[in-house]
Symmetry: C2
Subunit: 457 residues, 2 copies
Amino acid sequence: MSLDKVLAHVDADQDNALARLIELLKIESISTDPAYAAECNRAADWLVDDLKSIGFEASKRETPGHPMVIAHNDKTDGTHVMFYGHYDVQPVDPLELWDNPPFDARVEDTPNGKVIRGRGSSDDKGQLMTFVEACRAWKAATGSLPTNVSIFFEGEEESGSPSLVPFMKENAAELKSDVALICDTGMVEPNTPSIVTMLRGLVGEQITIKGPSKDLHSGMYGGPSINPIRVLTRALGALHDDTGRVTLDGFYDGVPELPAQIAEQWKNLDFDEARFLGDVGLSKPAGENGRSVLEMLWSRPTAEVNGIWGGYTGEGFKTVLPAQASAKVSFRLVGQQDPVKIRDAFRAHIESFLPEDCSVEFHGHGNSGASSMAIDHPAFEQARGALSDEWENEGVFVGCGGSIPIAGHFQDIIGTQSMLIGFAQDDDSIHSPNEKYDLRSFHKGIRSWVRILAALN
Amino acid sequence: MSLDKVLAHVDADQDNALARLIELLKIESISTDPAYAAECNRAADWLVDDLKSIGFEASKRETPGHPMVIAHNDKTDGTHVMFYGHYDVQPVDPLELWDNPPFDARVEDTPNGKVIRGRGSSDDKGQLMTFVEACRAWKAATGSLPTNVSIFFEGEEESGSPSLVPFMKENAAELKSDVALICDTGMVEPNTPSIVTMLRGLVGEQITIKGPSKDLHSGMYGGPSINPIRVLTRALGALHDDTGRVTLDGFYDGVPELPAQIAEQWKNLDFDEARFLGDVGLSKPAGENGRSVLEMLWSRPTAEVNGIWGGYTGEGFKTVLPAQASAKVSFRLVGQQDPVKIRDAFRAHIESFLPEDCSVEFHGHGNSGASSMAIDHPAFEQARGALSDEWENEGVFVGCGGSIPIAGHFQDIIGTQSMLIGFAQDDDSIHSPNEKYDLRSFHKGIRSWVRILAALN
């Protein structure tokens, strides 16, 4: 049976697959920092070459930002699947917290098994390579793919995807497929393969509050002169009330209560709140009072300050009153929350704290509503079955706290339903120092796609 | 008459005096950053050599931090004055806002006359050199100083003076004098020489609030995980109430109302609130409601956040929940406010905002109460007369918003009364990019000290 042959090939080819991933991880494709543009380009070229080597018609497509990679195979019958991943990665700071250089990925033994350690190993190079390797194994073991496959790699996912929507609109015909497969999510626990059917949206804002025309000495000006940090901390400190609710006007408009049936499913998941929080040094859920951790993560909206800076932040002390202070703030959205209204409510909130002598500059970063998948599409049960065959536990339908706007774009722009299937683990430290991907996720991830490609055929 | 001869020498020697100052300004003596320790040492050596060249017995005195410079002249009769200044300077960031390199000082024409532009030109190298040049002129024109002069230069004033008190205690006998002259203050307006008789104290604190054990991804953890920036902004945003008062428990204990007589003097000063604020882009006093700008600056206490940082602060966006967030906070004190109690009240305030899963680290920077001078000491009227002879307007007794702990130390440790006389202007941009010192301040400052040395004789 060809499925077994392909799975056997995956097992036999593990070391080579790992070597290829490590090569890709050496490319410093940080998309948010313009200094790394050439590296992003290099990652795209590497993927084009690799996809060509296994028989895809692959090409790099220029955009105003970092390039896309598009590939098609030559099979024209069967279900047409479009696989999406992103080759760009997060910045690496604080660099001093990495035990090894972030772009010199290596395999390490850990108490929980072998891992590949390096920036992008989990998010998302390791994940996208699970699919590429599954295709390679089908080709190597049988000479062809079991279904019609296209591939779409983005290089701006970690920087708000500015080119994504225009590109999808311009190339909608080429991107049309029966189902989109997105590999940028995790498993609810290490033995339970998970298909994400609810995704939170994201609104990001950078704000700068300006006061005096220059930095002042607090001895000469302290008292009569407004300090922009005072204004910023007052405004941001008032984003939440004492019960953990976000205070913006109309923030909870369009936030649905979880249907009883889904709430029940989530309660039955093998999810340990104390372990989840304890793994990152916490013990008490910090979201809205009276909600479970999974609700806070998957079905409730948030407001977070992701960065703040102003004044003197170096060694020692400097009694400066700074001319300005800044912050990066983001909101995770659920249900029918309207990103535009949330952004407007935030801006109005900040402006309500501005004294006469201060001004504010806003700069938007990203703007996507939440999305829900139509799980009655037959591909969902086919994929869940394939995943259940590969892993210890049955596959489950879950939510996801992150924002993966591509799922909504496939729906809205292309008219294609998305399935989000990924093999990342909670402790992968994505976006943090010492990011890793379990070798088990990599290996069983490849095998999962091998099975799913057969099941969707 | 020898005073005229000395003043004429000052006028004739202006270019040389300026060249010497520019040489000193090239030394990058930033005391707060350990990377510049050798430069601080070099500044001390330069001063020792210069003082020796005009006949002082001068030496560098090592401390656990940056060295002191002590010099004595050989005259044993007459009033013994001890002059204090500091050769260290503030950091230069943000470097990109400087029009010229901060340590390549140069003379510039401006609409208000010529200035010397560079870090330390006003605070405090330009100021301390006014006194050195006055001594040089006396020696050059008459062969001797009119009174008994010692000099004391510090190299840690901009970094909390950690070695100052131990050094003064160990060398109290050598530092004993009839009156201390401190040149580190400004003029209330460009034509009115000013003797500072009230100084605010300073308490500095650096705080770091810690939450999760590592940086987290807000998609994976946002909601259930506490964000230390949220805690920090709530706590700092609550430091002031809506009327501009500081909210710490007992903060106003020991803050006296201004005596009616002093309030009247300040009202009569040629001080333009609108111009003072307008020069730095502001229009509305930000201190306690119902107080004048001079009260806010000279006789009212403050709380200011001088620096804040946490999370991702680079280009683009990163949806991180940081493991920690920090701030530098300082308080200007007046009257009998107790620095220890203020520090304790601040720490208690922060702790009252800490949720169960957060901890806080405090690190103190500086700790000095306010001080008031005994203006019935005869030197005050002698100096005021000398200043009135040099400048357009009569000399005045004023307050100062800054903290110059040395004045209190001369009083408490040595038993010597201090007079604070300086020639800085409001627009000198001390502690900011493009710091400058008016050539007029430099030249008339030298002439002022020439006159004061004669008057105190």
